[in-house]
């Protein structure tokens, strides 16, 4: 037990601790009710979220300018099977051998807020390997790279807007936001809808991850229903016997009226 290091990182003096970040997260939850942000409406990601230190200088201070979308913005780039090879859905077969880790299937449907499918559209994902290491030269986490895992996948959704990936469950990942900061396991998703207004990048999380309450990126959505929109459901019907665990995650794109979106779980109001 004496061999376990106290820390594999060094922090500058005054670097915030997890307790500091926890207090900031709690403070914002208390003082910023979920529907108070004029830029983002109910349950939306707060872009001015100081517990995530990198956001401080990278969010606009002015309100978003409300504008009627024009013809080009009401259309979306077209992607096709020319752009994405059908094998790119499987992140476990892109190199010669099998990657290490827990094999998973992630599937779901991409729609707009009215349930219309984002059909034949591009979904891109990227993620860390089972040890929480990204395949990128700037990455400094001393976890092993997996020679058989690149951590990148792409698909074109079908006519119903459905996508499916086969991958490895990503590991938690340490990052320098504060002392002993760990990102919960997540998969990055980049999604196109039927309009360019709906184009979105987000992250999918796994149910039951104990790091979610501690993570300032996940906590930048302050409402439980907003947070829930990012957590996949374990689905035993997707699980394949003797082969892989299944998760389902539907993605709902919202391009217009983002500013004024009102709660679906909140009390109904008559006009």
């Amino acid at each position: 037990m004496d061999d376990i290091p106290k820390s594999a990182a060094t922090y500058p003096p005054g670097h915030p601790t997890q307790a500091d970040i926890d207090a900031e997260i709690a403070d914002i939850r208390k003082n910023k009710p979920t529907s108070s942000d004029p830029n983002w409406g109910d349950h939306r990601t707060l872009i001015d979220y100081p517990p995530y230190r990198s956001s401080i200088l990278r969010h606009p201070s002015a309100n978003l300018e409300l504008v009627d979308p024009e013809t080009i913005e009401l259309a979306s780039p077209a992607f096709g099977h020319r752009d994405v090879h059908w094998t790119e859905y499987d992140l476990t077969t892109q190199v010669n051998g099998e990657p290490q880790g827990e094999r998973i299937i992630v599937t779901g449907r991409v729609t707009d807020a009215d349930g219309r499918p984002a059909a034949n559209q591009l979904v891109e994902i990227w993620q860390a390997n089972a040890g929480g290491r990204y395949r990128q030269k700037k990455e400094r986490h001393p976890a092993p790279l997996d020679p058989n895992f690149n951590g990148v996948g792409r698909v074109i959704t079908n006519d119903q807007g459905e996508y499916k990936f086969v991958s490895i469950k990503p590991g938690a990942y340490p990052w320098p936001n504060h002392e002993n900061a760990w990102r919960p396991a997540h998969i990055h998703f980049s999604v196109f809808g039927n309009e360019f207004t709906e184009r979105m990048v987000t992250q999918m999380y796994f149910p039951g991850d104990q790091l979610m309450p501690l993570d300032p990126i996940f906590q930048s959505i302050t409402s439980p229903i907003g947070q829930k929109s990012l957590i996949a459901k374990y689905d035993h019907d997707v699980t394949v016997p003797n082969w892989a665990l299944g998760y389902r995650w539907d993605i709902v794109l919202n391009g217009r009226n983002r500013t004024w979106f009102s709660s679906v779980d909140g009390p109904e109001e008559d006009e």
């Binding site: 349950h43 002015a62 992607f79 987000t202 992250q203 929109s229």
Partner: protein, 188 residues
């Protein structure tokens, strides 16, 4: 009785999250910045820098543009990842470099309706930016005066949406925050 009750229930939208520091793993591909081949007839370079609230370059931003062809038609063809020489897909993606620089080779967009000003539809993602930002880059010209939207902005704010003509194309910087903060959009 509200109209919301009469129509089908809306689905709860999925929230945005930051693109993070390693977006290049999943989003970079060869030719993403060349909507048309460099040096081809009619091609221009659209380029600029992305800055943070201190005026420092943002080296890990992603700028995406979506535009009409040179005749004002909205493209509806694949080929944004695997480019085709004989068709125009209208979509490009540029990850900023260590100096915050982004760059596209493309053609000038044209108005989709006569008399309207032409623009590039733009989305910005970055590490540290928790949700996407929509904006526009307008092509300079007399049609800008016809825009009701541009007309209601202060001259300083309006200027953040209009590109500057430079030899070979257009220059346009994006300021995520600060005195020169770019106008970002929400759609009706």
């Amino acid at each position: 009785m509200s109209t919301a009750k009469a129509s089908a229930p809306k689905l709860f939208p999925t929230a945005d999250q930051t693109v993070g520091p390693y977006y290049a793993i999943g989003m970079a591909f060869d030719g993403s910045e060349e909507i048309v081949p460099a040096g081809s007839a009619g091609s221009i370079v659209l380029s600029g820098y992305v800055y943070d609230g201190n005026g420092d370059p943002v080296p890990d931003a992603v700028v995406e543009i979506w535009q009409t062809d040179a005749e004002g038609h909205v493209p509806a063809v694949s080929g944004s990842i695997v480019r085709k020489a004989d068709s125009f897909s209208g979509f490009g993606r540029s990850g900023s470099d260590e100096e915050g620089h982004y760059e596209f080779t493309t053609v000038l967009p044209a108005p989709t309706e006569p008399g309207k000003p032409a623009f590039f539809a733009v989305i910005v993602f970055a590490r540290g930016l928790l949700a996407r930002l929509h904006t526009r880059i307008y092509v300079p010209g007399p049609e800008l005066e016809n825009s009701e939207f541009l007309g209601r902005l202060t001259p300083e704010r309006r200027a953040t949406l209009i590109a500057t003509e430079v030899p070979g194309g257009l220059r346009h910087d994006i300021h995520l925050q600060g005195e020169k903060e770019t106008v970002f959009l929400a759609f009706n």
